[in-house]
């Protein structure tokens, strides 16, 4: 019985760890997280389509965005209205995707 409880407890911890990576939202208003996100935004060439300041062809500054939606769009890509954004899951870590999310939110209407 004790062994069973320990097994369940370990399993619960492991499941929590797996879920944790995507659910463990950092402080998205932390300037360090936003700055790291901005570096990624430039290095990964998000500026191709979104512009160096977010005012590119796909303008991010005019949008009301929610954190999970932005995370998912970056992680799994986005195909809408004939336009396409590549998926970044596996190329970027979850932590990095959250950093990019923080930067995107900082320039969207969300932050105003």
């Amino acid at each position: 019985m004790t062994r069973w409880l320990v097994t369940v407890a370990i399993a619960a911890i492991l499941i929590t760890e797996v879920a944790h990576s995507e659910e463990n939202v950092p402080n998205l208003k932390d300037p360090k997280v936003i700055a790291a996100g901005h570096d990624l935004f430039l290095a990964k060439q998000c500026a191709h389509c979104h512009g160096a300041d977010g005012r590119g062809g796909i303008n991010l500054t005019r949008r009301e965005l929610d954190p999970k939606g932005v995370f998912q769009s970056i992680a799994d890509g986005r195909e809408k209205s004939g336009l396409r954004m590549p998926a970044w899951r596996g190329v970027l870590s979850d932590e990095e995707i959250w950093q990019a999310t923080a930067y995107v939110l900082s320039i969207s209407q969300q932050s105003k």
């Binding site: 990964k44 060439q45 062809g57 004939g82 396409r84 998926a87």
Partner: protein
């Protein structure tokens, strides 16, 4: 079938055939009722000799049928084919369909299951067309395969993985292969990828790979140190097959990283070049590099047109810089070089005899430098069209510029969504310094560049032009307006709002004695993503993936 019925049928067929526009043997006029390959004929002119639709009656064009291509992601970028009354079309995700050319009714369709990695790579899921030959329809896929389908049924006959898709930064095929006799040739994407782009030769009947040609030359003088390892190049548009000499001509992509040349201080062969390859073996016959050690993203994969003129066999070829090279087809010797526009500052000029770049502008790291034309080029990849009756070549000229800013970047072929460009973007687009209109349809002599007429546009054209024996030139714009021009004068004779922007190839064909103009409409591609800051008119253009067929109203 009874004997009399058979005779009647044959007679009717002959009558219909006879009613289907004149047949002539002049170059560009062979197989007049069909559009059997990417540029219609092997000289790559995009000229249809059909003349039922002409200057006098083009205003009576009306819609015959409309077909939807399914997924609209990145729009529709193809040039469809028309063979014996059947349309062969490809749309997003490498979906292929055969349609009745009279009605648009779908005869069969096929869609491959693509590698999920295609969701992550730069160049997907669009394709610019299919190829047909040997009773098969051939495609190159966005996960790097060649696939052959039965022309009658759409059933898969063979498939061959050609690129090392997961290991080559997602290098793949965004254009159709070329039927070069018994060989199919495929050119891969690579210019913005950390890889070495290749051209592949495959046995058409079986899919067996016969050869591959590496567009990055193994030569330390051309690629010092390790610089060639991820040199890019590739050949992302269809080549031209010259059956007379058994040669497949390809234009190649730019070197990488696009905007940084400090570690690749050689010629960077065979990027930005025309290659003449033996179609059977892939052996190099000759090459002509047009842009040495490119730092402005001026690829050379555009159409390679063939001409016979004054006893010479000539090639006319524009690269993305907007310079047009007139070459001897047999050895690549330069006959002339001329620019499609004077909106250019990346060099002062190109020597018309030697091809040397005179006064090239380098790009300092971490600083913006204004370069004209922009990374979209003096013209985009969409082809021009040459009309042998007018002697004019019709091209969508892009007269705008961009600020380029090289920045340090690691080499990583697993960074699938990041271009191996040495930059944070493809350049900040701006209008030309002299404030001129940003685009125009130009009609020029292809050998001298002399301009006969021009049609200025507020938003430049990004579709391939068509010209016909009816004395017409057709062009589509990103706002969705299809126009028919008098090919001699540039006068607009007819226009039609197709409902979405055009980024693809307009064709003409005839069936049952009627000429059709077939227009793919569906705004998309990187142009749709990158252009709106410069052209706000494009911010809300609806995407689509539509084929619209026009014929004369009855």
């Amino acid at each position: 079938m009874g004997k009399m019925t058979l005779v009647a049928s044959v007679s009717l067929a002959c009558l219909l055939s006879a009613a289907t526009i004149a047949v002539a043997a002049d170059p560009g006029t062979e197989d007049p009722n069909n559009w059997p390959q990417y540029h219609r004929t092997s000289n790559a002119w995009r000229y249809s000799p059909l003349d039922q639709i002409n200057k006098d009656n083009v205003s009576k064009l009306s819609v015959a049928w409309i077909a939807q291509g399914g997924d609209i992601t990145m729009g529709i970028q193809e040039t469809p084919l028309a063979i014996d009354g059947v349309i062969y079309s490809t749309t997003s995700g490498n979906r292929v369909a055969a349609l009745d050319g009279r009605t648009g009714r779908e005869l069969w369709s096929y869609q491959p299951k693509l590698d999920p990695l295609t969701k992550k790579v730069l160049f997907a899921p669009y394709s610019r067309g299919v190829a047909v030959g040997h009773g098969m329809v051939f495609i190159g896929t966005v996960d790097g395969r060649g696939i052959a389908l039965d022309q009658q049924t759409g059933k898969v006959l063979w498939e061959t993985q050609l690129t090392d898709f997961a290991e080559c930064h997602g290098c793949n095929f965004t254009s159709p292969p070329v039927v070069a006799g018994d060989v199919l040739t495929f050119g891969s994407t690579a210019g913005e990828l950390a890889t070495q782009g290749k051209i592949y030769g495959v046995e058409a009947k079986t899919g067996k790979k016969l050869w591959e040609f590496n567009t990055i030359k193994n030569d330390p003088k051309s690629w010092p140190g390790e610089s060639g390892k991820y040199g890019g190049g590739g050949a992302w548009m269809p080549g031209t097959y010259d059956a007379d000499t058994g040669t497949i001509f390809y234009g190649t992509g730019n070197p990488g990283k696009d905007f940084i040349n400090t570690d690749r201080a050689g010629d960077n062969l065979y990027t930005d070049s025309i290659l003449a390859l033996d179609a059977k073996t892939g052996q190099l016959k000759w090459y002509r590099q047009e842009i040495k050690q490119d730092v402005w993203d001026y690829d050379s994969p555009y159409e390679i047109m063939l001409f016979k003129k004054d006893g010479k066999d000539l090639i006319v070829h524009m690269n993305k810089s907007g310079y047009v090279f007139v070459l001897d087809k047999n050895d690549g010797k330069i006959e002339n070089i001329w620019p499609i526009s004077d909106v250019k500052n990346f060099v002062k000029d190109i020597d018309k005899k030697t091809g040397e770049l005179i006064g090239r502008v380098e790009l300092p790291m971490d600083q913006e430098t204004l370069i004209c034309p922009s990374t979209f080029g003096g013209r985009s990849w969409n082809s021009g069209a040459y009309n042998p009756r007018t002697g004019l070549w019709y091209n969508n000229v892009l007269d705008f510029c961009g600020y380029l800013k090289p920045v340090a970047q690691k080499d990583d072929p697993k960074e699938y969504g990041t271009g191996h460009t040495g930059s944070n973007d493809f350049g900040r687009l701006v209008l030309a310094p002299d404030g001129r209109k940003p685009g125009r349809l130009d009609a020029r002599d292809p050998f001298t560049g002399e301009r006969k007429w021009t049609y200025e546009m507020e938003v430049p054209g990004f579709a391939s032009a068509l010209t016909t024996g009816g004395g017409l030139a057709f062009n589509g714009d990103p706002l969705g307006v299809l126009r028919a021009f008098d090919a001699d004068t540039g006068k607009v004779l007819w226009s039609f709002n197709t409902g979405s922007g055009m980024r693809s190839g307009i064709i003409s064909y005839a069936v049952d004695g009627e000429q059709y103009i077939l227009v793919p409409s569906g705004w998309g591609s990187y142009a749709a993503l990158l252009l709106p800051p410069l052209f706000p008119q494009l911010q809300n253009i609806p995407a689509a993936s539509t084929l619209i067929a026009f014929r004369l109203a009855k």
